[in-house]
Structures are given as structure tokens and as C-alpha cells.
């Protein structure tokens, strides 16, 4: 089996879910797309069928299994994850970890032959003792204080377990670096889009991005062709944080870690439910992933980290003058 006839996408309203649904609908004319989410997107291609399922509902696995069987789904793209962590830690866990479990039960029941799951290189965790390039075999150490990262680490453990018990199924996990590009937006982008960016005094790690189009290319190929395994989806040539901010002409506000963490504590907990270390540690230690395996499978990315960053910066400038 190469190209599936019907693809189901959970998290149709997420960036990856929506863009991949649109791409598949326009580029693969004979392919059916079933989009699953909590609410119907405002704008939906006519070719995309919408199904409303709440993954935090305990009965959602039966509902998903019924949809997968009825539509004869041959590939599932699981992208129903939080873009940013929310203060509602319980619901985040229900949606991300337990929701994945529901989806896996449904895949078992409907015998779905291909599963593609969106993941992130943040799961390797920012650690002082990381090697400069983390390969796919490196243990996922996560960040103990970032609850969404820990949820996704559990998701990957569930996937490993499930893939072992269902050897016939092709499970693809794509771990993406921080996305940058003209249309993607999340808290990382918001952080870097500030006129003055707080950084940690005395630290200047290499940072890695991936351009949104390169990321979507990898997802599209993973859905359409068989690529079982785990892949880092990252842009080559990481750059030091200081260089990145100089490229965009952003003013840095280097602060000692103790002061920065205390200063941002309340705001960070209110916005994400985690202490500031859950985010700023990613600007403190290196957690660059090695993309060689992904390049061999999905081709060289069109954008380096620098180009992805410049693409984001220039689109932001244009937006200011619109």
C-alpha cells in the first residue's frame, strides 16, 4: 500500500492539521479527507468531510472507531495537541495523553494501517549534558516542569508500546523543531516577536528552527508514503540565540536566570500553568536535533534555520506596513 484512499486528520483546526488537509484536498484529487475536531473550522474546503469528536470524552474511542470503519480510513494523521500549554493542566493531559490512547484504541478496532503523529524535538529536553546533535535514538528526557512536554513524552511511550503490539501498522513520528514562517504563530513566535526579548545572561545556546513549509512537506510525504519510524524534522545549520536576535534587529535584555525566573513567575504560571523555567530553559541549554535521518527520508529542507528565521522576520515586517 502506498498512497491511502482516505485520510483522517485529528485536530483539523491545528496548524498542521488544517494545512495538511488543504494540501491533500488540492494536490491529491482522488483522496478523501476526513477532518476531526471539537469545532468546525470557519473555512473548510468542500472536499473535506468534518466530524465532531471530543477526544477528552471517555467514549470517543468508539466514536472514532466507527468513523474510521465507516470511511474506510487508511491513514490517520494525529495532530490534536495543544499548540501552547494552558493553565488547565488536567484538560491538557486528558486531551494529549489520554486522547492519544483513545485514538490508539480506535486504530486497533478499525485496523488502521498507517498512523502519523506530530511530535516535537522539545521532548529531548534542554539539558546541560545533551550532545550537540540529538539523534532519534536519544532518550526523551523532557522537561520536568513543562506539563505539555511531559504529556507528549508519555504519548511517544504509548506509541512505542502500541507499535510493538501492532507490527503490521506503520507508525511514523515526526519530531519538529520550533516552527518559523510567515503564517505560523505560537508562544515561541510571540516571544521572539517582542521588540525587547529577555534572554539569560551568560548563556547563548545554538537554536534550531524548521520552516513551516518544510515541516508540512514532511508530514504530507509521511501521510502519502510509507515511512515507518521516528524522524527529526529540523532545518540544518543552527545559529546562536544572540545571532538570531541580531539578524532581526531585536533588542536583547539579558537578565540573570534567578531574576528573570522570579520576574516572569506569575505571568508564566497564569499563561501556561508552568514556571518560567519550562520555557526559558529552552533558551539556556542546547537541544539541537540531528536531521540526517529525516533528510534521507523526506529530502533536504528548502530553508536553513537562518532562512526560516528571516522568512518569519520579513513577513512580520511586511505585516507592520500592511
Amino acid at each position: 500500500m502506498s498512497a491511502p484512499a482516505t485520510v483522517a486528520i485529528t485536530g483539523l483546526r491545528t496548524f498542521i492539521g488544517q494545512r495538511i488537509a488543504e494540501r491533500l484536498a488540492t494536490r491529491a484529487p482522488r483522496l478523501r479527507v476526513v477532518g476531526i475536531d471539537l469545532r468546525r473550522p470557519q473555512r473548510l474546503e468542500r472536499k473535506i468531510a468534518f466530524e465532531r469528536v471530543d477526544l477528552t470524552d471517555p467514549a470517543s474511542h468508539a466514536r472514532l472507531a466507527e468513523i474510521f470503519a465507516r470511511e474506510r480510513v487508511e491513514a490517520v494523521l494525529h495532530a490534536a495537541f495543544r499548540r501552547d500549554p494552558t493553565p488547565d493542566v488536567e484538560t491538557d493531559h486528558e486531551l494529549e495523553t489520554v486522547g492519544t490512547l483513545q485514538l490508539l484504541h480506535a486504530c486497533t478496532a478499525a485496523k488502521v494501517p498507517r498512523l502519523v503523529v506530530a511530535s516535537t524535538t522539545m521532548l529531548y529536553g534542554p539539558r546541560a549534558d545533551n550532545p550537540n546533535y540529538l539523534t532519534e535514538c536519544h532518550p526523551l528526557r523532557g522537561h520536568p516542569e513543562a506539563h505539555c512536554v511531559q504529556n507528549r513524552v508519555q504519548v511517544e511511550a504509548l506509541l512505542v508500546d502500541w507499535a510493538r503490539r501492532h507490527p503490521h501498522a506503520q507508525v511514523t513520528v515526526l519530531r519538529c523543531a520550533w516552527l518559523m514562517g510567515p503564517s505560523y504563530f505560537d508562544r515561541v513566535v510571540r516571544h521572539f516577536a517582542r521588540p525587547i526579548v529577555p534572554t539569560l545572561l551568560g548563556y547563548d545556546p545554538l537554536l534550531q528552527f524548521v520552516h513551516e513549509e518544510d515541516c508540512l512537506d514532511a508530514f504530507e510525504q509521511a501521510v502519502l508514503d510509507a515511512h515507518p519510524g521516528v524522524y527529526n524534522v529540523v532545518a540544518p545549520d543552527p545559529l546562536p540565540l544572540s545571532t538570531i536576535l541580531r539578524l532581526s534587529g531585536t533588542t536583547r535584555a539579558p537578565l540573570p536566570a534567578a531574576i528573570l525566573y522570579r520576574m516572569r513567575d506569575l505571568a508564566a504560571r497564569a499563561a501556561t500553568g508552568d514556571p518560567p523555567a519550562a520555557f526559558y530553559d529552552y533558551l539556556r541549554w542546547t537541544w539541537v536535533a540531528d536531521g540526517a535521518r529525516g533528510y534521507a527520508a523526506f529530502g533536504e529542507p528548502a530553508y536553513t534555520s537562518r532562512e526560516a528565521w528571516i522568512s518569519f522576520v520579513s513577513s512580520r515586517r511586511l505585516r507592520q506596513y500592511r
Binding site: 546541560a128 549534558d129 550532545p131 550537540n132 545572561l201 548563556y203 547563548d204 545554538l206 546562536p240 545571532t243
Partner: protein, 320 residues
């Protein structure tokens, strides 16, 4: 203009020519220092000009391009005069045996370690850079605690240091860049003065295993003189824990002289490169042969130990 107005120092009753000249000068000074829009200073323009000036100051010595391990060729070029000063004048480094270093191939250099600061790594890299200017710069591995120390970490990364771990060494060797390793690790850095030139245990054999896995030649290197540059009299361990350091070294100058105390002593250095040990014929499977790895590690250690002893015996004094 009256003659009492003598703030420019014109003596009363001086020649009218001089007075005219002073008037003209004053007028020109007034013109020069009054902004065009006299009703106020253009603070925005001033701020913008300062910002530009300081931004370019921040960009000084650093290029926007680093390699995949964060090494910055421009930072190295601007540090070059200082490193040359240390190399030629301060330590008067003499190099021997460098002709035998394999050309056109990445090698794994194994050296005795000394002191907490990576001076030995910088000097070996400089010696190799002088001998083989066309080859990619050799990268020195630094211990964990230094590779993660604030301020030190960005500086070391820009100047070619890499955190010591097997993945990093393998990646460097695979991409044809030589690696300088100090397998004594923390035990080597923690040597006190009376333990100098006693080469400690070589970790768990990771260096030899890496060389075997990639077929890279192992080059033993003895650095003589470096172990006296920071003579550690004793170590303070309890107070160091408060700062997250393994220990605080107490040398004749540190911490007594404060920041000046980190200036190393101008000892006479010699760097001796031994004959390279070929590992290709053993094949990558030999890396899993624990007994072979252990034996080669111990042989390498004793070879470096004897090279160091010869160097120490043959030098006329620590300073010459």
C-alpha cells in the same frame, strides 16, 4: 564685545587683531555646538545614533556565521593576536613530532590535562593550526562543568571548544575535523601541584572506542609546562558547592589576587606529538572488544606518561 568678557583668556588691552580672531573662534564654536533646530536636542536621533553605535559594538568580533558546533571564524581571528601572544611570548611554546601527524585526515589527539581552564586545548589547536594551516581547525573537548558555565560556555563554543561526549567526538571525526581529547577528564583537572605530570586513569576507554569505531588515528600528545601554569596548592570543596563548581582551586595568585589570579604563570611549554597509532586495520568491530579497548587505553596512557616524563626530565627549568 567688552574687554571684561575674558573667559577665553584674552588679556585686557591686547591687540585688536587677536580680539577679532577670538571673536571669530567663539562664533564658530557656537555654531558648531548648537543644533540646527535650536529649540531642543533631537533626542530620538541621538538615541538612534547611540543605539547603532552600541549595536555595532556588540557585533564587533562576532560574525553572523558559525559552524555546526558554534565555532566562529571571526571570533577566532580577532582572538588570534592574544593567543599568539600567549603562544609565542608568554609560554614560548616549542613543538616537536608534529611532522608525523597524519595529513588530510581527521585524527584523535589524546593529551594529558592540566588545570581547570582549557589553555592546553587552545595551545594544541594553535600548534596544529600553524603546522597544517589548510586543514580544518582541530576542536578541543571541554569538561561538562566548563562547557555549561555561564559566560564561559558561549566563549568556548565560539573559539572551537566542544562539550566532551562520544556523540560530539564521533560527529566531528566523521566530518573530517580533528579532535583534541583529554581523557583524564575531571580527574586531570583536579590534580593538585604535587600530583603534576602523573597521568590519571583514562575514563572508561571512550576515546579509544571512538577512534576504533571510526578508524581515526590516535595521536598521543604530551604537554609539558602547562601543569605548572596554575599550580593548585589545595582545593576547597565545601564552599564550592554553593557556586555549583566541583571545587575552588587555591593557587599562589587565586583567589588572593581576585580576577588577576586567573592569569597563568609564564612557564615554558613544550608540546610533543607522538607517533600516530593506526586503528583502521582493527576495524570498527574492535570497538566492542572490551579487553582490546582497555589494553589500548592503558598503553596509550603509559605512553603519554613516559613522553611527559622525558619532557620534564630534559627541560632545563620550569621557566626556560
Amino acid at each position: 564685545m567688552s574687554e571684561q568678557d575674558g573667559d577665553l583668556g584674552a588679556p585686557p588691552g591686547s591687540a585688536p587683531v587677536l580680539r577679532d580672531a577670538l571673536d571669530a573662534l567663539r562664533e564658530r564654536l557656537h555654531e558648531r555646538f548648537t543644533p540646527a533646530n535650536a529649540d531642543g536636542v533631537d533626542w530620538m536621533a541621538l538615541y538612534e545614533s547611540m543605539r547603532r553605535r552600541f549595536a555595532s559594538l556588540g557585533m564587533r568580533d562576532l560574525s553572523a556565521d558559525v559552524d555546526d558546533f558554534g565555532m566562529d571564524a571571526e571570533a577566532i581571528a580577532s582572538a588570534r593576536p592574544w593567543l599568539d601572544l600567549l603562544y609565542d611570548r608568554w609560554w614560548r611554546v616549542t613543538v616537536s613530532g608534529v611532522e608525523a601527524v597524519p595529513r588530510g585526515r581527521a585524527s584523535l589527539f589524546v593529551a594529558n590535562h592540566s588545570g581547570l581552564l582549557p589553555w592546553d586545548g587552545l595551545m594544541i589547536a594553535a600548534a596544529l593550526g600553524r603546522h597544517q594551516p589548510a586543514a580544518p581547525r582541530a576542536r578541543f573537548l571541554v569538561a561538562d562543568w566548563l562547557a555549561t558555565l555561564p559566560f564561559a560556555q558561549p566563549w568556548i563554543a565560539r573559539h572551537g571548544g566542544v562539550r566532551a561526549c562520544r556523540e560530539n567526538a564521533e560527529r566531528l571525526l566523521r566530518t573530517d575535523r580533528s579532535v583534541i581529547a583529554f581523557p583524564e577528564g575531571a580527574k586531570g583537572a583536579a590534580k593538585v601541584f604535587r600530583q603534576r605530570y602523573r597521568v590519571q586513569r583514562f575514563g572508561r576507554g571512550g576515546v579509544v572506542r571512538t577512534a576504533l569505531a571510526l578508524g581515526a588515528p590516535l595521536v598521543p600528545v604530551a604537554v609539558v609546562g602547562a601543569e605548572e601554569a596554575h599550580p593548585v596548592l589545595f582545593k576547597v570543596e565545601t564552599a564550592a558547592r554553593a557556586f555549583g563548581l566541583p571545587f575552588i582551586p587555591v593557587t599562589p595568585t587565586f583567589p588572593a589576587l581576585g580576577p588577576l589570579g586567573i592569569v597563568p604563570l609564564p612557564t615554558k611549554w613544550s608540546i610533543v606529538f607522538g607517533a600516530p597509532i593506526e586503528t583502521t586495520e582493527l576495524g570498527p568491530d574492535a570497538a566492542d572488544d572490551e579487553i582490546l579497548v582497555w589494553r589500548m587505553t592503558e598503553e596509550l596512557r603509559s605512553q603519554i606518561q613516559s613522553m611527559v616524563e622525558v619532557g620534564v626530565r630534559e627541560r632545563p627549568s620550569v621557566w626556560r
